[in-house]
Subunit: 452 residues, 2 copies
């Protein structure tokens, strides 16, 4: 047990201390069950990334501000930026896409294209904290750079589906194309600026509702005819095939729109023909994505048990963002998962399995004179891959059992001098309280069989 010591400096300003001691607003301590669940989800996502052939990379968190801000479309006030010790204006990354762009340019000659990478790491945004929205949060991104094919579009939406299925989340990939939206702009005779405004307003549909969308379009000066067209466009419903037909009626007269429809039709038919579950994928004309840089397929993923969490996995094709060192654009497509939002959503619906600890066994401690035996046993178990704790010495047996139970460790081992001389251990299931005496040399096998 800890030594106690009183520091007079400490008592004088407990309140001040308390203020200092809280995490900054929008930042979080992640530990205990929530952390174990988070690690599992992240591990599953990484597994999916790898199954689809993506390779890991880690880029810096800190960059020259100038470089991060260039062409990103991120509002400056959302970026954590400051002057470093060398007098450089630097900023913390707010996503993994802008750093990828710069990475590609500087390593272009070393890459075998297409370059398929994944990156897992924190990003920072000086945003207003809200439900599932943090100022520091982990993003998991997968991107394919240097591949403009429909095949890459297909693989990207299949990746999203693979992840959701492996995590066990009821989710729908809502898919649209910027080309289809450009078709809408086209057939309504809108200017580029009007088009950009239109996309921004449509992007708010999920959160703001259709009345609000109409109101904003009116305020922006769109004509009643155009607003009527857009309302009809946004109210298209039905099966994917029916939506394709209706979209064709709406925007088929635009070359851009037609091109987008044809390309997206290939995506949907390939998914269907290859035996994937078609009802996981929905053609949704209302998906626009906020960021300016998307050029083709866009995808958002609804958490069906509570869609109010917003998209838990989003992305799309951005063919005019990354450049070769010579300056020409390189096509790219990618998706990003906001782990902390996904976790918050799953938590709110009790979808996260119990996971109090990763430890499988606790060795009960009968006193210091047994320590050598405990260390030997722990060594054997750990070498066999079984996470093992040795309890503290000098604590009453009842209290030890209570603590093992509280930690959620599934098994405890009792090993006293009697057991040592008989070459056995007592093992206790902490849920059923069943106790068995088994030979030491069968213990590893026993535990491995019970580890699911």
């Amino acid at each position: 047990m800890p030594k106690n010591e009183q520091d007079p400096r400490h008592t004088e300003s407990t309140q001040m201390q308390r203020r200092i001691n809280q995490p900054l607003s929008g930042f979080q301590d992640i530990w205990g069950q929530r952390m174990i669940q988070r690690e599992r989800i992240m591990g599953t996502v990484i597994e999916s990334f790898r199954l689809f052939g993506f390779q890991p990379q880690v880029l810096p968190s800190l960059h020259l501000s100038e470089s991060l801000e260039k062409g990103s479309g991120m509002e400056q006030k959302m970026i954590y930026h400051f002057m470093d010790h060398g007098g450089r204006h630097v900023a913390l990354r707010f996503d993994h896409t802008v750093p990828l762009r710069d990475f590609i340019e500087r390593h272009y000659s070393e890459l075998t294209l297409p370059y398929r990478r994944y990156e897992v790491g924190n990003v920072w945004r000086a945003d207003r904290p809200a439900k599932g929205r943090y100022r520091e949060f982990a993003q998991m991104d997968a991107d394919i750079v240097g591949d403009s094919s429909v095949q890459a579009d297909i693989e990207t939406v299949l990746l999203v589906d693979n992840i959701m299925q492996k995590i066990g989340v009821d989710a729908t990939a809502r898919i649209n194309s910027r080309e289809i939206l450009n078709g809408l702009v086209d057939v309504n005779g809108l200017s580029d600026e009007e088009g950009a405004n239109l996309l921004r307003v449509i992007d708010k549909l999920d959160k703001a509702g259709s009345q609000r969308v109409v109101k904003e379009l009116q305020e922006l000066g769109f004509s009643a005819t155009v607003i009527g067209n857009i309302e009809r466009y946004l109210s298209i419903e039905g099966t994917n095939d029916e939506i394709f037909d209706q979209l064709d009626n709406h925007i088929g007269s635009s070359d851009k729109g037609k091109q987008g429809l044809n390309r997206l039709a290939k995506v949907f038919s390939a998914i269907k023909d290859s035996g994937y579950e078609s009802n996981h994928f929905r053609l949704d004309p209302s998906i626009a994505r906020g960021l300016d840089y998307y050029t083709g397929l866009v995808v958002e993923t609804s958490f069906n048990p509570d869609p109010s969490y917003g998209s838990i996995c989003s992305g799309g094709r951005y063919d005019h963002f990354i450049r070769r060192p010579q300056g020409e654009f390189m096509p790219a497509i990618g998706v990003s998962i906001g782990v902390d939002r996904l976790l918050a959503a799953m938590e709110s619906k009790n979808l996260l399995p119990d996971a109090k600890t990763t430890t499988q066994v606790a060795i009960v401690n009968f006193g210091d004179e047994m320590l050598t035996q405990y260390l030997k046993l722990a060594n054997t178990l750990r070498r066999a891959g079984i996470p093992t704790e040795i309890n503290l010495s000098g604590v009453r047996l009842n209290r030890q059992m209570g603590e093992i139970s509280k930690r959620g460790i599934p098994y405890s081992i009792l090993l006293g001098s009697d057991e040592v001389s008989k070459g056995v251990v007592k093992i206790k299931n902490m849920k059923t309280f069943e106790e068995e005496e088994i030979p030491v040399d069968q213990l590893t096998e026993f535990l491995k069989q019970r580890d699911e």
Copy 2:
């Protein structure tokens, strides 16, 4: 293949562009083989942490400066700090120990003690970049809080050894105790301030050499007798038992020193009696550790193939750093691994295994009309846990094979319409160039057997 497009804005300032596009000094792009090797090492370390019963946690990267600087002993100029959007002085963490202290205080009532945690994440220091030293680097820490027992000391050094063995690094855990060093201070009749200076100078021994140490001690005004004593202390050599005997002669007359020797002797005898390899652990009186907060056992780990990399895993007991909310100290012990330094060290000695890719199979692409077949096959393989890529369509066969080989993917699959109608695939080993025709339904089994 990508669409090309020329942007006139781009050509005007290629040089400017180039400057912006480099990572900041001390920051790194980690990708390709190095990244895969890094992930494996990190995975192995996490496995060791878990085997020893440590549980994961993630704390914020950004904190109030005031909170991070308090009692840490870190020079302010080493800390990345700035004013955030709310006008708060904030700073990026420079280690995982200071945030742990604050975490314990705020969650004290929720914890079951001892609290064994591990944390993996980046830390930032505005340090001068050098061999294996970065401004942003990953640290992997394991700590036990609320346990003052020798058992925790033993488990901590065994953890260090377990990690080194699992990674396959020839390393020696060099162990000492602050209490022994306090004994040295004691028997030489030094003041607290002189003692602190002495420890700081001793800490430089590895890097600066003994002549430099003597010179610094002279400059600090230590007497010839004291310097003579210290030189003899630092030159103690032999087996661990011999070193214990000599230390006893030197400092055994000091109560503090004696206490430290007795406690450390328990650590070494427990390791030996429990059958661990004693030669992985060396009692080293010269280990002092720079930070002020250590109070007991201290450990550094030499990378034996090239000790000039400095310690690759360090830590110790710090019983006067973390507090209960009421203000009393809580005992703690922990170690930290600087992954990026370890990686640099292993790389310099070619100790990292080849690991070009995590992908196991590439499906050669004979054209868009086969896409459905490829997607079906990829789905089957991925569901069986086999990382699978589908090559781009429209690329000549030779070039496809060359790229698969360049990426280091071990197998390629050839599936044309002939194979589809026969229900087989051709699978080619990309190292031996052996090609086999096997039934589709045996492919998964075939690949799983060959995945080691």
